[in-house]
Symmetry: C2
């Protein structure tokens, strides 16, 4: 080892053939790791004369009091609400917030991280783009010991704090509601199938069917790319089915609104001809006619919790250990499924 | 004058009792100024041995390729659309964008500017907060020669490029439409009266009345602070009026949607009992029942134009001279005013 060379966690990881995050967790004595693994890593760190990166630590103390936020899209009411929650609670604690938008592009997400790190933000809050299916840019943040949390769209294996919604349970609740309101043939209209939320919500849909002893019917699952054009195409396909479903659960509210608008233009009555439900509780879902049954997913609350936890960690008020916070969703029954309460 | 001291535009301005922006414009030989004014300022600059800030100019060349955007609120669909336009066209030209939200607070607006300037953004795009009624923070940006443009919510006297909508004409169009659809008693429901858009849209409303020879009736102008609670209170007051108006123009769509929702809950039929119109063309306005007549105000286009002009100036493709761009709005007639086309 060259004299004066500062050994990094990456070098320890390479020598042992483990990941950098494993080394990091071992050196923090994480209870998640096997004691034997921790012992081996601690020994290697000692042998290689590893010193924690004091410079990085001292830099982190001379704070800019600025946080960076990266979201897939700002025009989504859900992410805008997350940002409001983040900002309100960051401001309360004396931090300012800079926001970047990835436009659902992994390249832009990488560029955003680079920009925000260059401006020396104290920490980052990231919700991943639809395209993000490899994670070197997050690994690098982790290796450079730049604190960050993931919210809503997360990478489950990343050893950082993650805040998500219980999507499966929300979908289970809304499907169960449709069945309890009398629907015998409940359809699920999904977004792109590789999306995390498409999968989770499909699981909840299937869970409810199973609970009521209803057999899964592949003809009652449809997929759209969530463009208005495709949404309307799917809405027409449903009208043309014989027999039609009697209840339709759409993965997100804007999709349900597109379906509703098209159905109304073709004389289909909701809920008399078919029941309809969405997910997210966008403001629009309450003002369409009939008002749309949906699942409330409070973005403001998610933003607030994400930033509060991050700042607690940053300021030494909470343990450095990554945790996983799963927020509950709530069924919001309205007229579109025959609810009159 | 101390040797080695770099004379600033501010000192020249102080000596002559004029504003810094006048000095700046004079030294750029702006055609807006009187030749005599320019001559005096040029002489004083020479006398004081003024040197343009070459350091600032060279710093500006070593660019971070990052732009800062400040908007009052991100949850507004209009500002989210502006941001999308800014970002798409900034990205196309190799710039990344960082966004800050002032939450309609002048203090937060100042903090945002400080943060973004500290991160060495190349330039700023700013839409002012509702509270911003003094402008030292903008003057300071100007004096430090940090390029910025103002969009939508602007300070008219600031010698920088400003991009706005023709709000007065939009309000004129929608009021005229209500009258042409047969309304004899058209009401204007305004937001807080000190807001720029409240004033501009009231002017347009009055302009249309005047054109049709209808006398202004103070009982046909109501004001709300735009909270849902106040909006519903005003909606009820309108129901209780005797005689009622037969057409109501609400300053923004979310207000019109609140009014519509309340009226429907009280059995008022739109447009049979009263016609109703909004402004902005939010997505919600198209999906409520009946769909809402409104005025389209393309935020994406505004964002695109703002950033394109700013980058042209920054990269020397356009003159440094501040210009004022006024975008047109378009009437979007729908069922809520009896339109069936």
């Amino acid at each position: 080892m060259k004299k004066g060379h500062q050994v990094t966690m990456k070098e320890i990881a390479k020598r042992l053939g483990v990941s950098v995050s494993t080394v990091s967790r071992a050196l923090k004595d994480s209870p998640e790791l096997h004691p034997e693994t921790k012992r081996k890593i601690a020994e290697m760190a000692k042998e290689m004369n590893y010193q924690p990166n004091l410079l990085a630590q001292s830099l982190r103390i001379s704070r800019t009091k600025t946080l960076g936020v990266i979201v897939p899209e700002i025009t989504s009411h859900f992410f805008a609400s997350c940002i409001s929650g983040i900002q309100d609670f960051a401001n309360k604690r004396g931090y300012n917030v800079m926001i970047c938008q990835s436009n659902e592009s992994i390249e832009l997400e990488k560029a955003n991280i680079k920009t925000l790190v260059a401006t020396q933000v104290d920490a980052l809050l990231i919700s991943l783009s639809r395209e993000t299916n490899h994670f070197e840019h997050l690994d690098e943040l982790y290796q450079r010991e730049i604190p960050f949390v993931l919210f809503d769209r997360v990478q489950e294996d990343m050893p950082v704090t993650k805040i998500t919604f219980n999507d499966q349970n929300g979908a289970y609740q809304v499907t169960k509601h449709l069945i309890e309101m009398g629907c015998k043939r409940v359809m699920y209209v999904s977004g792109p199938e590789d999306l995390y939320i498409s999968k989770k919500r499909k699981k909840g849909y299937l869970q409810a069917l199973k609970e009521f002893g209803i057999k899964e019917d592949p003809s009652l699952i449809k997929v759209t790319d969530l463009t208005q054009e495709q949404n309307i195409k799917v809405a027409q396909e449903i009208i043309d089915m014989n027999p039609r479903p009697d209840g339709v659960f759409c993965m997100i509210d804007p999709l349900a609104v597109d379906v509703l608008t098209h159905w109304k233009s073709k004389g289909i009555k909701v809920p008399e001809d078919m029941s309809l439900a969405g997910f997210t509780n966008n403001p629009t879902s309450a003002v369409v006619e009939p008002p749309l049954t949906t699942v409330s997913q409070p973005g403001y609350e998610m933003g607030k919790l994400s930033v509060s936890h991050l700042l607690d960690q940053l300021e030494g008020l909470a343990s450095d250990e990554p945790i996983s916070i799963v927020l509950d969703t709530t069924l919001v029954p309205r007229k579109s499924t025959g609810y009159t309460g």
